[in-house]
């Protein structure tokens, strides 16, 4: 990080003042009988508890200098992301978790370590202070893309299986029959990251960049980091969508070029 003036440290009183902001929102909800005050209170408490927990965890993680422990944490993060990716999709099939997990291991780790090792040049390349936040961003975006892609792919191969079987019935190979649904699914998974790349800096400032600027970093330096992160997320998401779509393809067609749509289950 370039010479940062450093953020103004917050004391607990500052947090109390911030809490007042949420309280005002709750009071407005009460006055207008919108009835979100309960949910808002719960969400506020969760925010505090979860962030404090993660703060303490990170405090501990950043001191880790044994790669094995770090890789254990990475595996837990990826496992959680894979679960979330599959759970968010409206349909599932046997092997969905394994596919999502494998996909995220390959794509998220590859992009994160390329960035820490080659782009930023962190020494050592697995330094937790860099690896964990970068991996977190890649996983957060990657799992959204993967779950959208998975959902679309499984819908094409179950609810809209007649379309695929029409092509098979005319002599298409399984690949010829799946090519278009697969491309649609990958495109679907890419929509969120493509949208955010299109408006970044115009409609919104990304959280990481905002954070760096609040820390007193030179905006140009913050922007460089943000570009690296956006590209990293885009690469991981597109590769992740393609891999997971290919995985579905492998699992839902057999060597006899039959579509096994009864393996797909709605939740």
């Amino acid at each position: 990080m370039p010479e940062a003036a450093g953020a103004v440290p917050l004391d607990w009183l500052d947090l109390v003042v911030a809490t007042a902001l949420v309280l005002v929102a709750g009071l407005v909800s009460l006055a207008l009988q919108v009835r979100v005050e309960g949910k808002l209170a719960l969400a506020a408490v969760r925010t505090v508890v979860q962030l404090l927990l993660v703060g303490y965890v990170l405090h501990w993680v950043f001191r880790i200098d044994r790669p094995l422990v770090l890789f254990g944490i990475i595996a837990i993060m990826i496992g959680a992301a894979a679960r979330a990716a599959v759970a968010r999709s409206g349909r599932t099939f046997p092997g969905a978790h394994a596919g999502a997990f494998g996909t995220l291991v390959i794509t998220a780790c590859a992009t994160t370590f390329v960035v820490t090792g080659l782009v930023i040049g962190v020494d050592p390349w697995y330094r937790p202070q860099y690896v964990i936040p970068l991996l977190g961003m890649v996983l957060g975006n990657g799992l959204t893309g993967i779950s959208l892609c998975l959902d679309q792919m499984l819908e094409s191969l179950s609810d809209r299986r007649a379309r695929v079987e029409m092509e098979l019935a005319l002599g298409a190979t399984r690949w010829e029959a799946v090519r278009e649904p697969l491309a649609d699914a990958v495109r679907r998974g890419m929509i969120p990251i493509l949208n955010s790349m299109a408006v970044v800096g115009i409609v919104s400032l990304p959280g990481m960049m905002t954070g760096q600027i609040l820390q007193g970093a030179d905006p140009i330096e913050a922007v460089k980091y943000q570009i690296v992160v956006m590209f990293m997320i885009a690469a991981a998401t597109s590769a992740g969508c393609m891999l997971v779509a290919l995985w579905v393809y492998r699992r839902l067609f057999n060597d006899r070029h039959q579509l096994l749509s009864d393996r797909v289950r709605k939740r």
């Binding site: 007649a162 029409m166 005319l170 002599g171």
Partner: protein
């Protein structure tokens, strides 16, 4: 040797046995009707013959060779199923008809003249450039039949091919299919709920009640 042979075939749907011991032989130029009450396994049988799903047991051969010998995509081009509900791409009629000619299994270029003649014969003159989704269901059903005819299958598996058609169009479809299979030495297996149509159109009729599995059946 028969063109297409089915020996001791059994099919089930969702684990429920529907048909067992199905035996059938199609000769070149023949149109054979398949009748049976709804739920008797007519569609399941056609799907199994096209190998879109596996039969429980049994053997199917085309010109003495099994699906594995032909290769499954090639088998399905040669034993082509036309589903009851037409499934067309969101594109022009031409693109729909040309679709199979982009596959590895297909031979040669899209035969546009033949396509035009077949469409005209079914009352769909000058429809090549129309967007398929704007056609009526009956028109879509005919386009989907023409699409299958153009890949020149040895066996046409037709699942209620005239269910959405008026009387004139029904006769046109029957005439086109009959002529196509007799000219090419192919065969057609026509599933219909209409026994009268089966008698009129087909050289012979198979009643699936004979092959019902489970209670009352022979299995």
């Amino acid at each position: 040797m028969a063109l297409f042979e089915v020996r001791d075939l059994a099919v089930s749907a969702g684990g429920v046995p529907l048909l067992a011991g199905v035996g059938l032989a199609l000769e070149p130029g023949e149109a054979v009707g398949v009748v049976g009450p709804s739920g008797s396994g007519k569609t399941t049988l056609l799907r199994a013959l096209a190998l879109l799903s596996d039969p429980v047991r049994g053997e199917v051969t085309l010109r003495g060779r099994g699906p594995a010998d032909w290769g499954y995509p090639e088998w399905r081009r040669r034993v082509s199923l036309v589903a009851q509900r037409p499934e067309l791409l969101d594109d022009t009629v031409r693109q729909n008809l040309a679709r199979p000619f982009g596959y590895r299994t297909s031979l040669g270029a899209f035969p546009e003249e033949r396509a035009k003649r077949a469409l005209a014969e079914l009352g769909l003159d000058d429809r090549l450039d129309q967007a398929a989704p704007t056609l009526s269901e009956g028109q879509q059903q005919r386009v989907s039949l023409v699409r299958a005819l153009l890949v020149e299958p040895d066996v046409l598996l037709l699942d209620e091919p005239t269910s959405a058609l008026d009387a004139r169009a029904v006769r046109a479809v029957e005439a086109l299919v009959t002529r196509d299979v007799s000219e090419r030495g192919a065969a057609a297996l026509v599933v219909t709920h209409d026994a009268e149509q089966a008698e009129r159109w087909c050289d012979r009729v198979v009643d699936l009640a004979r092959f019902a599995a489970g209670e009352g059946g022979r299995a």
